[in-house]
Amino acid sequence: MTALEIGIASFPALMALIFLRVPIGLAMFLVGLVGLVWVTDGTQVAFARLKNETYTTFSSYSLTIVPMFLLMGHFATLGGMSNALFKAAEGWLGHKRGGVAMASIGACAGFGAICGSSLATAATMGRVALPELKQYGYAGGFSTATLAAGGTLGILIPPSVVLVIYAILTEQNIAKLFLAAFIPGILAAVGYVIAISIYVRLYPESAGTRPPVPYAERFAALLQVWPVLLVFSLVVGGIYLGWFTPTEGAAVGAFGTGVIAFFNGGLTRATLADSFIVTARSTAMIFFIVLGAGFYNGFLALTQVPQELSNYVVSQGFSPWVVLALILCFYLIFGCLMDSLSMILLTIPIFFPVISAMDFNLISLTAMQAEAAMDVLNSGVPEGMGAEMLASIQEAIATGTELTREQMKELGIRVTRGMANRIEAEHVAIWFGILVLIVVEVGLITPPVGMNLFIINAMDRSTRMIETYKAVLFFVASDIIRVIILVAFPAITLFLLPG
């Protein structure tokens, strides 16, 4: 077998192992190891890599974010922030039809802003909100579905552990990815609220009502939310403004939430040890997958499979939009079976080169040039520019043709095709990352095996799984509509990015 054939054959082998319930990290590690030994004819290369790879993977400075964000999420819960968020949202929305469910979504979005994980958000908010929903007469399946969907906001709204991994895999800027995730995250929350209002209109008996609370109480509840706002703006704002790196931001966030939890009396020796234990378990799980994926992807790169695949797709001349749609559908289906992190680590090294090789035309060179030229001309025609030159520039802008080097020199601007291509590549990478993140997350709430559904359903024994399945379809529909919108209008994701 040639190296390329071994590389291709490794994929079904890996899938078989994973479906035989081999832990995903271990499966990737094994296939990578065996493949490497096979391709390089001996254990020498593979073992030489292993000497340093475990240490360098575990000591990665950017990955340090992961345990820090996980710890931050636990501290936030201990500090009563999940409670405070729910109380505030419930005070303002609870009296509306379906309002307590909407409040749960709002609280999940708020908690997502200080927690980087979907399962943790679902579990935390489930504990807070499920009893209240029940108390106000909300149907079981409707309540569990709402919280399962709300949990996915934990990973859409920055900070997000999966985005950090994506950024490292594709060598993108973490701060920019966080920024790009912001509006899609808000849209997700809005979409879920719309799904709730449609649901309660169709099934009015599934939601109870209660009288509104006085405004004084509402403002008092809102005031309790300040720690969340403080931590979120410090972490995300600080990273964005360049005060600190994302890793440092995570440290600040963990420290800040820890201090708040301590002063709220939530942080004792016992709860601290508990948060270490829970953080340890998820961190080890994540890092073992990262290690296995690193090993597998190293082997795959050696066999040239990713390059060959992207060459093949480009040579077939498929429309980039069709390719994108196919990849997203793939994620939607596999996202139902596998957790999002494993999915991304497993597939991004294969799909990302394909997407990068496609031309989506997100950035137009002529538009960039015209914008720069207009900036100059609006503040007055540069000295010494002839009338003829001015007319030719204006004509080029009006007809949307590329400016010549001479014209740009006269204007004192420099916008080249290389610059446009660089920005295009970055925008495509960020946009694709957000889209993948969303579709993978949809998998978490898609029946029959979405992880969030299990977690929430396990908390409410009186609700049958089938009822959760029925109600969650409304949220899945809202997700799919959102993905279509974000694919059709890349600007929604990209316009917050600095130019």
């Binding site: 292993l50 000497k51 080890a284």
Partner: protein, 194 residues
Amino acid sequence: MHKLMMGLARTLAIIGGIVLSALILLTCVSILGRLLNGVFHSDFMESIAPGFSRWAISMGVGPVNGDFELVEAGVAFAIFCFLPLCQITAGHASVDILTNSFPKGVNRFLRMVIEIVFAAVLILIAWKLFDGMISKRQYGETTFLLQFPIWWAYALSFVASLAAAVVGLYMAGVRIYEFFTGRILVWDGMEAGH
């Protein structure tokens, strides 16, 4: 035996957590130092309190030198410390949609094989990490800023990886016992709730 192993895993996880917290504090101190250093270097402070500013800077108000080298070395150790707990609580992510429909005996068999292979991999990792440590020591590699020998960090991680290998072996033993007796000692993550 289970108590002993669980105790080992939990202790290591807590040690790892303490190291992680120390790194968080270190990073925050470093950021604070950097910000203050910027303040003391600013024109404003230079003009209103030049002596104090110079004193503060000479006292070492600034980012912690080589902080990220410490973070890297520390976090590697912490994560190796986390591994045994994940192992003993069967916390690794896996896909059980297909195997759920298999007979119980088949599942027990699969689990035994997987856990034995996992133990072998953990031993391989510890062994190779040891080799890596030896070669770092031979070449006398040090970090860039703090100049501490890299093999120290490897050595720390190696100790923790050894514990992971021991716990891995123990879990393999547990699964072998479960296969032959049919009594389940350690439930998997998802099963625990059912």
